[in-house]
Assembly symmetry: C2
Homo-oligomer: 464 residues x 2
Amino acid sequence: MSSNEAIDYAKKNGATFVAELKDLLRIPSISTTPERVGDVRRAAEFVAEGLRSAGMENVRLIETTTQQRKGHPLVYADWLNAPGRPTVLCYGHYDVQPPDPLDEWKSPPFEPDERDGNIYARGAVDDKGQMWMHVKALESLLKTDGKLPVNIRVIVEGEEEVGGEGIAAFVREHGDQLQADAALVSDTEMFAPDLPTLCVGLRGMIYTELEVRGAAQDLHSGMYGGAAPNPFVALAQMIARLKREDGRIAIPGFYDGIEEPTKAELEAWRSLPFDEEHYRKTEVGSTELTGEEMFSVLERTWSRPTMDVHGMPGGFIGAGAKTVIPAKALAKISFRLVPGMKPEETFAKYKAFVEEVCPKGVQVDVRMIHSGEPIVVSTDNEYIRAAQQAMAQVFGKETVFVRGGGSIPIVGDFVRELGIPTVMMGFGLPDDNLHAPNEKFHIANFHRGIESIIRFFEIVGQSA
Amino acid sequence: MSSNEAIDYAKKNGATFVAELKDLLRIPSISTTPERVGDVRRAAEFVAEGLRSAGMENVRLIETTTQQRKGHPLVYADWLNAPGRPTVLCYGHYDVQPPDPLDEWKSPPFEPDERDGNIYARGAVDDKGQMWMHVKALESLLKTDGKLPVNIRVIVEGEEEVGGEGIAAFVREHGDQLQADAALVSDTEMFAPDLPTLCVGLRGMIYTELEVRGAAQDLHSGMYGGAAPNPFVALAQMIARLKREDGRIAIPGFYDGIEEPTKAELEAWRSLPFDEEHYRKTEVGSTELTGEEMFSVLERTWSRPTMDVHGMPGGFIGAGAKTVIPAKALAKISFRLVPGMKPEETFAKYKAFVEEVCPKGVQVDVRMIHSGEPIVVSTDNEYIRAAQQAMAQVFGKETVFVRGGGSIPIVGDFVRELGIPTVMMGFGLPDDNLHAPNEKFHIANFHRGIESIIRFFEIVGQSA
């Protein structure tokens, strides 16, 4: 194969690639934290510089603005010198989740630490490490061959962890600048170590805040307890009404219109190497798994909607005791959606239900923080087949198709606005601690990812 | 009356007394905050110095230790040179509640601000201002008469807001050093402005933490949502099981053995100037009052037990969105108890119930932070009668008897360990914002309090 030279280059320069990635991981580009806006921009500039050195053209930052605030910039690059060949749009994100709780990290989240063949850092796998594979695959091809086997556009965003409004607006309004035949996203995981995996479905989500207000101000629970409304008690009662103890969501019409996976897909899932007891013990670590018992764990996390509470700010959260009836309480609540559900419709049903069950003496206010649509990609597609083949070559095993329980809203935007399918070729591992303390990326997968991407570009180029 | 000179002295020096109180209020003696330990001690020393200047004898700090930690010191003083006369034990506390939420204070909590005849500061009324009345009443008598009409012991603690374990242990182990015929506590409020009020009953309490643990570590809600237990959802379900929407506590046996107020007491409460609609609007400020509808608001807050949630630490509480399933969640939950209930017994019933209703997949851990017994003082008592008379003289109105919904655990200890009744002669007002932002003390009441206390000592002395 003509990609041998590029693969050799990637192997020879592997240590340098890792060192560069560590530099990127040192930048605390937490997109949700207003104080980090400068760091987020620094990460964008780092990525732009990486694309420039790789030999990409038209590298630039694109500013974004959303209704609420000035957004974090997009990084754009292209190389469009392969006429007659397909164009692949490479997507990634350089922003990361907040690192808290900090005291549970074994090494500081923004000081990348190599242990047991892994890099530990916030963003190692989600998504700096995987996005950097794209940059390094392009560099390996351009530095050895002087050209690419396909046309490439690169778009890297800095708001994936906060809903990606900026890129969504850009895709909607300037879709012509991203014209391509398929998108490549490396922001998912393999089903098991050494098992090449393509993700062909993602859940959508709505992330909301439920605010409950009772008294006009904080009150002493001795003096007013028994007569004054307690917003935390009210919130608890409402949450208990939203999700039953058997895991079912009690919002009327919540499950209406859900598209079940095909029989063939369900059968393929059943043949995956999944050990529920192992999953419970080593990944979740709880005494029992929860949720809708009539569905398998893979269905519960891939093709069933759910609700989670992420935190309940307000009131007294310090050490010790404070006998306060807080004037207000908040719950951060999100729902994962599956094909057949629409974020706006689900939000409307949720809002109506919450307003209906709101206990007396308190007012409730429901706010949508961000949302993303669920998507499914057809496997009957030349780009999916090319990716399947590329990964099988690198791993020496047949590639499996799975879905992901998380949300990558941009994949839905690519379908809707650009009319292109997305290849979700991810190299994370199930125990990579995404969004949690001690996030890591398996270094071997970083290298296999670069090789898989090089091969993918080659195969797509040859098929033209 | 022979107290005229002392009352004149208090009037002449009123401005100085207020200035001194402001100095005391500047010390952020927050007993629950470990970083404030030095400030708490500074407040103790300030009080000791005040007692010394007043002319009290044997002034000293008494160190306390509890099982968990070194405690904050007690301040002791006495004047025992009136043989044959009764001994009154004056109690107060110099520690304060945390001031948060800070951004709701109109002036900083530890920079006393005088507005509309009030002093605004954390601790203004609870209890620095009221405790300082005792010190100034003693000073007024000693500086004019050279002696006191009764024997006096003073004990001022620094842990009232965190359960008062130190003083409880001291009373238990060194009760002989506090021997007296009655205690005087000024840590309650008047039922209405200008209405002299004695508090003859208090609710007890248990303050607890309910901790729920699910997964071994924080998880990504996209990947695990639907199968992994969510500790906040579990806590919400448990809280909803604990307190029904009609305000009833659902713990089996929770209401067993409760001693109802007497018919005469209930009748007296009905004749108090209480306007429920005014209370709802101006004190609580909610759209509706809540709780057990079959009981009046005064019963609900004075003679009925209840449950409140004060805050739910854990998870993501920052701005923006984080899609985490937290490994654990906590709820700070307290119960107010009424005569006939025992803290240990209520805690045991609560613990058993919570363990029974704990949803699957999570473990629950219930911790008692502190507790206090409910108490009722008989009104058929010479000290209560003396206080009734003293206040009536100062205010020119008949003194009413009420109960308080809060807890002053020491009052129970005085009954149990010292066998003495407590006179709860308080000068707070219903809108003084105890434990809340913008706590205040009506300056006129500070002065009337000092005069009432001087007269109380005189009347007790004369009756001997």
